[in-house]
Amino acid sequence: MLNPQKIRKDFPILRRRINNYPLIYFDNAATTQKPKQVIAAIEGFYENHNANVHRAVHTLSQEASELYENAHEEVANFISANDMEEIIFVRGTTEAINLVAYAWGLRNLKSDDEVIVSLMEHHSNIVPWELLSKIGKFKIKYVNVNNDGTFNYEDFENKISKKTKIVCVSHVSNVSGVVNNVKTLAEVTHEHGALILVDGAQSVPHLPVNVKDSDVDFLAFSGHKMLGPTGIGVLYGKHEILEMMEPFQGGGEMIREVSFNSKLQRCSITWNDLPWKFEAGTPNIAGGIGLMEAVKYLRRIGMENIKRHECVLTEYAMQHLQKLPKAKIYGPREASAKCGIIPFGIGGLGSHDIALFLDNYGVMVRSGFHCAQPLHQIFKLQSSVRVSFYIYNIREEIDRFIEALKEIEQI
């Protein structure tokens, strides 16, 4: 069982008051707060071990390298990857997807090929493919979303074909919280000889994710959405696929050898081992160490417990939201179909109005498009308000949020 009251003590920011009200942080899908253990790990690194990694034989560099490698190991265990060679540290989900698009897509997608993208994607899983299609001339096929925001599996089966080379889909929608069955999607994708890239930005922090079981080829996620610092994220890739790929960026760290041939006036280069082949330049070492601490924290609580806690909160909040005469919840009504996220609106009020009103009561929610404009078009919405929960949220906070909404309903 998860004990949110005990957990809350680990989050210094939750002691803050905003406009004289205790902070209620319901914008966890955007980024999560950081426990003192993560903050201490970053501070501890800079205070005791700071050095560049893989560059020197001195003690500090050895310590920093070991910590940074341990961070890869910890993440590998967390998502049940084979080993740390399958774990590439990047800036976040966005960079992870761009890495696949440019390092894999640029070389493998030809003019007759097709890429499947779902319409529930965050812009970060749409824009890189649109950009790349201008170079590669491949075709993008968009899979529809049902009116309630769920993935349209029938449309997916109609659109996938032997021409499909990669399927790009989120595990959990950042707008509606809908959970997609990525195991089934991977099965169908592989039957057609294609690869599947899963955007796990909203799933890895909230559910147990096992890449061996779901058999996805790539999984992208962000550290800052799972208690870790900003500027660090992960691309998981199957070993054999990463081995076949050329690097994304060039520079130090990602090469084993660069030798100059004076006759040819060229340098010949051999790549470093995985995962370093994809981590050019000095990496975000402190960020990686912070992420390791975040993963340890989540594992101590247990991902099943986290999932259950968020589900209970979602159900509780939906029950109370549904009782408000002017409130309308978008997406599926059953909390079991989703993961800790509720998009809603109130009467004719703009989403920013609602968010600013709640801000007065110290309640932080997101308003707007949440970087997923196509899904809002499907919902026929200009924008929405989104509440998203995490391990430190409690029922009493939802009660205060609902009380504030009752007041705004008077407008």
Partner: protein, 89 residues
């Protein structure tokens, strides 16, 4: 020379067709800015002393006691600057 920037910290355009513009007043100046606006514009409605629904000339907007305001259907930056200047000075 009085300037809108004396009071305004940031202006954020919201995306989409709504074309709302959110004006965020400087923390130390927000109370003064709100007081000036409340004096100049007409209050149509006030909710819990938190939101003030206001009109000024042909513009309708909402002012929040936390120091923010949302303006509707603003054509461009120039129009907003001129409107804010009239409201604040």
């Amino acid at each position: 020379m009085p300037a809108v920037d004396d009071y305004v910290a940031r202006i954020e355009g919201t995306c989409g067709k709504e074309k709302d513009v959110i004006v965020i007043f400087k923390y130390g100046k927000k109370n003064e800015a709100i007081a000036r606006i409340l004096k100049k514009a007409k209050t149509k409605k006030s909710i819990s002393g938190i939101i003030f629904e206001m009109t000024f000339k042909n513009f309708s907007f909402r002012v929040y006691s936390s120091g923010k305001a949302i303006f509707r259907s603003i054509k461009d930056k120039g129009e907003l600057q001129a409107l804010l200047f009239e409201l604040l000075f």
